[in-house]
Amino acid sequence: MTEDHQNHDEREAVVEGVGKAQASRRRFLQVLGAATATAATSQADAAPWEDFFQQHYKRLTDDEKRQIFARLEAQVQDKYGVAVRISDPKPIDGVEFAYALNLQACVGCRRCEYACAQENNTSRSPELHYIRVLQMDKGSLDVERSNTTYEGAVPTAEHYYQPVQCHQCRDAPCVRACPVNATWAEPDGIVVVDYNWCIGCRYCEAACPYFARRFNYEEPTVRPSEINPDQGYLSNRLRPRGVMEKCTYCLHRTRKGLMPACLEACPTGSRKFGNLLDPNSEVRQVIETKRVYILHEDAGTNPRFYYYFG
């Protein structure tokens, strides 16, 4: 890992190729960063300053990204004693991910919810989950009559169940709300957060009609033995305190052809996931052949998440 460590000469060499204004801004930050970094004695001491001066994900060169990932990996090693690998799988051309969920089959066991937490390294204490499973009254689609804190054996005779997670909206109000572009929709439709760019204003959380965003009010805690070492920079890497996070359709898995963790955990086969642009994909088949409905469709956010019956 050491060969990947900060090398300011190398970084500046890369900068030469970038636009002039951008280069000078970068340079300004680098000089500041370098000045403070050299004052520190070790890599670990330098890290807070490099975190502080880190630029927006979209402004980073591949080389800078490699260095940042190495730094983040080293931080986890320091803090937890766990070797993790941070990768950055890119969206695939011709792929637009979508989810379909069978309300008739879901039994409300919440396995998706817990599998998600494990896969995505979300905080165990305080407990932070991306998926909310609603216990719904039969005879109503009104989520306001739902219960999220149900206990005991499921399913019951009086209820059906509706898991809700980020709907990866086409017209995402969270993306528009963010004052610093720390959250955006990737070309494959997945709405991501740059955890190092988020300033923690929580306007996106207020804007979301699906209660899909989660804020780290406290330092997230995950036991070292429970850390999933296969991490995506824009998805399940360990988050700092004070930033927003959310479901990313497990992009570190799905962009490599795997299924999301919630789908794999589902014992009833209620969850279908795939490429909306592929006419033969399961999710496309569901939309074309089943009765589909969209939660809070009146909010006008055009989600890539569909509920269906059958």
Binding site: A21, A177, C201, A206, R213, Y217, G242
Partner: protein
Amino acid sequence: MRDGYAFVRASLGAVMHGSSAYYRWLAFLGVWMLLGCAAATYQFANGLGVSNLTDQVPWGVYIANFSFLVGLAAASVLVVIPAYVYRDAALYDISLLGELLAVAAMVMSLLFIVVDLGHPELFWHLVPSLGILNFPQSMLAWDVVVINGYLFINAYVVSYLLFSKYRGRVPDKRWYMPVLLLGVVWAVGIHTIPAFLYASLGGRPFWHSAVLAPRFLASAFVSGPSLLIIVLTVVRDQMHFPVRDEALQRLRQIVGVAAVLNLFLTVSEIFVEIYPGTSHSASMRYILVGLHGHNLLVPYIWTGIALSVFAAVVFLARPLYSRPKLLLAACAGAVIGVWIEKGMGLVIPGFIPTSLGEIVEYSPSFIEFCVSAGIWAIGAFLYTLMLKVAVPIELGTLRLPGVSHERVGLHPLRGAA
């Protein structure tokens, strides 16, 4: 340049010397400021987990105060318009005090945004070029622009006017009128953009209302001038600043009309929500009567409504408003009433129930209370110091050595130039 240096020195001199009541007031505010700083430091070190905020209710007392304070800045535009556009002599005399109130209000609203951030140290991400300001897409980015802009506009105008008068010169209209008039237009933004911040969220039915921006304007026109009436009374008694009764009565007329308009808009909103009883009325039911047994804020909002009604009645009935003490009580009631209604009364119900129907209630934690009180103390402290400089300059007692102590610009615009 040398005059500028003398101005700064004279200002520092003015704020350093005062009556014992002045020192006691500053000491009182100082204690709250210290407490607030300690609480803010604790929050910064430990994260927003020390607040009572949750994913269900992610905004609380900080954003509530922010929403109220942008309205308070209306104290500026509502004296500037009558004074400069309609050439009202009584309000012209005190217009500077209104603009200074706007400066203090803007500083406080910015501070309330900063303490609400998970990473206040990363504020540089908002600076265009260095960071990224998502303008014009994000309404919060608009807010950053309009608040900083309004702070700058008011700070520039009052600095220029005070500096001119300090040098015994009649302020040159060319140097301040364009900015002052820009401030009048900008004031529309300062009251509507924060409303749009909420109203633009289609997933929050409680805020998603066309009448929210007019309500913000109306309530701002109540709280700003009401507080100014209180301030003017104190300044007249304590600092011997000649405030004409006409000025107070003109402001009273303004808040009287605005208070009635504000109540009317509030009633319209309540009616439209409650009468048809759609599922979108849940938040309104929560705040007015409680929802499924959750009613933490019900007494709170009714206190606010009662104070607003009381204030409106006093503002409009001559036998009542002609009694100075009652007028002051009504002003205090109006300010607190709007603070309740445009503060937590607006912010919290927007999140209850959540978009998935959960009900999680909120009240501020001790730390949030201390930080909020500290920011209010900073605002009051700042405003006091600014008055301490502005009042003697307006009176003509604080002047550049060798300059006549005559009062400058104490007449409507027509005669000023």
